[in-house]
Every structure is written in C-alpha cells, then in structure tokens.
C-alpha cells in the first residue's frame, strides 16, 4: 500500500522532536529503543526513526549494552530535537555529549556514602574490641 500523505500523518501544533527511550520487552525484562519521535506521541507509539538501543539488564559478562547511530543523532539534533535526561546521561557516558552533572554528583555521593560506611564499620570494630 502506498501512503500519499505525510510520513506520520498527524498535524502537530507547536510540537518538537525528542530523542527518548521507548520501552519494549516483557514482564520483568525491560528493553529500551532509543528513538526519535514527536513530543506528543505515546511513549511506545509511532516514531520517526530508531536511533539506537539500551538493554538495562547486565548480560553474562556483566555489561549493559548500549547502541547509538551517531550520524542520525547528529542530524536530528541539528534539526532541533531535544533529548531526555536518561538519553543525555547515556550519551554523556558514551562520550558523545559531555558527562551529565547528575552522573558526577551521584557518583560522588555514592563514594562519600561508601567511605562513611567503611569508617562506621571500622569504628564499630574498634568499639567491639
């Protein structure tokens, strides 16, 4: 069948393109596709183009796999697409964007919490002794 109308059919007023994660997969097994879609569309609805994927569960070698199509991401950002927070964070970790400030802050917080834990357990050991 040949569609003679525009690609995504609906007419949007004041919408914009977003690069975001579309959830797929099954119960207790999520899987995200990194997708360029209109802002107003449903999260898992019709998108313009798939631009990568992200598997949040680690695999056998304890790695979380992420894929990006940098050429197309560059094109869409050049056409004025926004990115969502998780996509920005992933891109920061990948090196395409600068590292997201919250990634750094979360890491610092975790490190501080880990060090205070260690100090607390050491002090507890001393007290017991």
């Amino acid at each position: 069948m040949v569609h003679l109308s525009s690609f995504l059919l609906k007419k949007y007023h004041g919408g914009h393109v977003v690069i975001r994660l579309a959830l797929g997969g099954v119960t207790n097994r999520p899987f995200y596709r990194i997708v360029a879609a209109y802002n107003k569309r449903a999260r898992d609805g019709k998108y313009i183009e798939q631009v990568g994927s992200y598997d949040p569960l680690p695999n056998i070698h304890n790695e979380k796999l992420v894929a990006f199509n940098y050429e197309r991401i560059k094109y869409w950002i050049g056409c004025g697409a926004h990115t969502t927070k998780p996509v920005a964070k992933l891109l920061g970790l990948a090196g395409f964007f600068p590292l997201h400030p919250m990634t750094i802050t979360e890491a610092e917080r975790k490190r501080k919490a880990a060090s205070t834990e260690v100090v607390k357990t050491e002090s507890q050991d001393h007290v017991e002794q």
Partner: protein, 207 residues
C-alpha cells in the same frame, strides 16, 4: 511539584526550598480531587529532600558549563546539517548528479514507450485474430441454423407423405360396411405358445 518538574525535558534544578513548608500542589495518583485525605496522613507535613548548599553551588556551576557545551554542540550539528543540504542542492557534484538522473529518466521513459508499443502490437494482433474467429463462428452458426431448418422441413414433409400413404388404408364412412365384412370373414388368431428354449407354436386350440 517535583514530579511535575521531572516530566519536562530541561535539566532538573533542586531548588533551595525552606525546610518546613507544606507543599500544596500534589500530583493526582489513584484518588480524584474530591476524595478525602487518609486519616493516617492527618498530621503529615511533607518536606522536600534536604539540599546541601555546597553541593548545590558546585552543581549549578557544572550545569552552566554543561549547558554551554551542549548549546555549542547543537549549533555545530545544525551548521553541519545546513551545509550538507546546501552541498546537495548547489554543491559541486550536484549538477552532474542532476544531469545523470535526467539522462536515466529519459532512457527509462524511452524503454517504457518501446515496451508499450510492443505490447500494443501484440494486443492488436490478438484482438484481430479474435475478431476473425468470432466472425467465422458467426458464419458457421448461421449455416448450422439454415441446415437445421432445412432438415426440419424435410422431416415434416416426410411425415406428411407417410401420413398420406397411410390415409389410403383408413376406415371411412364409405368403406365401413366393406371393412366390417372383411374383418368378419378373416378371423386373425394372435395366440401363440412359447417355451423356455424359445420355440414358438402358432397352432393352438382355437374355436
């Protein structure tokens, strides 16, 4: 309020809200706006999570830097996209590509026309043949019908002649008496006997 903030796409800023404020705005989850508050939540004062001022300052700096870099990247990509579009339309290889595409189009159209011509010739021949065959069939049908008519007429004439022949032996009022006399004078015996081997015996005990 914080959940509503997290829905927008801009980076989330944890504002330095004062400690013991009752946040009036809520996000509707399971209950509607007319449902009363639960009794266990009567004396609850919701406070936002505590914010470390030192960390906040550092975060603000990091965010400004991050946004700066992101804006620069965005403009860079936009420039790349525009440059590519310009190259495609008015670039160095654009004219040759356009010429090549026009050539291809012309050749394809010519091939298409040739195909159409060939198919038209074949179609015309076929149509002609079919017309001739139809004509032949029609003529044959006419002949057949004529033949049938003639046969019918002949058959009817034959029947008439036969009837005329038989009419000579009919019994009419004139020869009624004569025929009765004849019939009474020659009695016919239709009785016969037959056995299992097929031997017919015509001579029977008749009065």
């Amino acid at each position: 309020m914080l959940r509503a903030l997290s829905r927008c796409h801009d980076p989330v800023f944890r504002l330095l809200a004062p400690r013991s404020t009752v946040l009036v705005e809520t996000v509707r989850g399971r209950k509607s706006r007319t449902d009363p508050k639960a009794k266990s939540k009567l004396g609850r004062i919701k406070t936002p999570p505590p914010v470390d001022p030192v960390e906040m300052v550092v975060l603000k700096e990091r965010f400004t830097e991050y946004n700066l870099i992101l804006r620069a990247l965005r403009l860079e990509f936009k420039e790349q996209v525009l440059r590519k579009k310009y190259e495609d339309e008015v670039g160095s290889a654009a004219e040759e590509r356009a010429k090549r595409e026009a050539e291809e189009h012309r050749s394809l159209m010519a091939w298409n026309d040739a195909e159409n011509l060939r198919l038209r010739k074949i179609r015309e021949q076929r149509v002609q043949k079919e017309a001739e065959e139809a004509e032949m069939k029609r003529r044959e049908a006419v002949l057949l019908r004529q033949q049938e008519l003639e046969n019918y007429i002949k058959e009817k004439e034959r029947q008439i002649i036969q009837l005329q022949e038989e009419a000579k032996d009919f019994i009419t009022l004139d020869n009624l008496d004569q025929r009765i006399e004849e019939a009474l004078d020659n009695p016919k015996n239709y009785n016969f006997a037959i056995d299992k081997e097929g031997r017919i015996v015509k001579r029977t005990a008749f009065q």
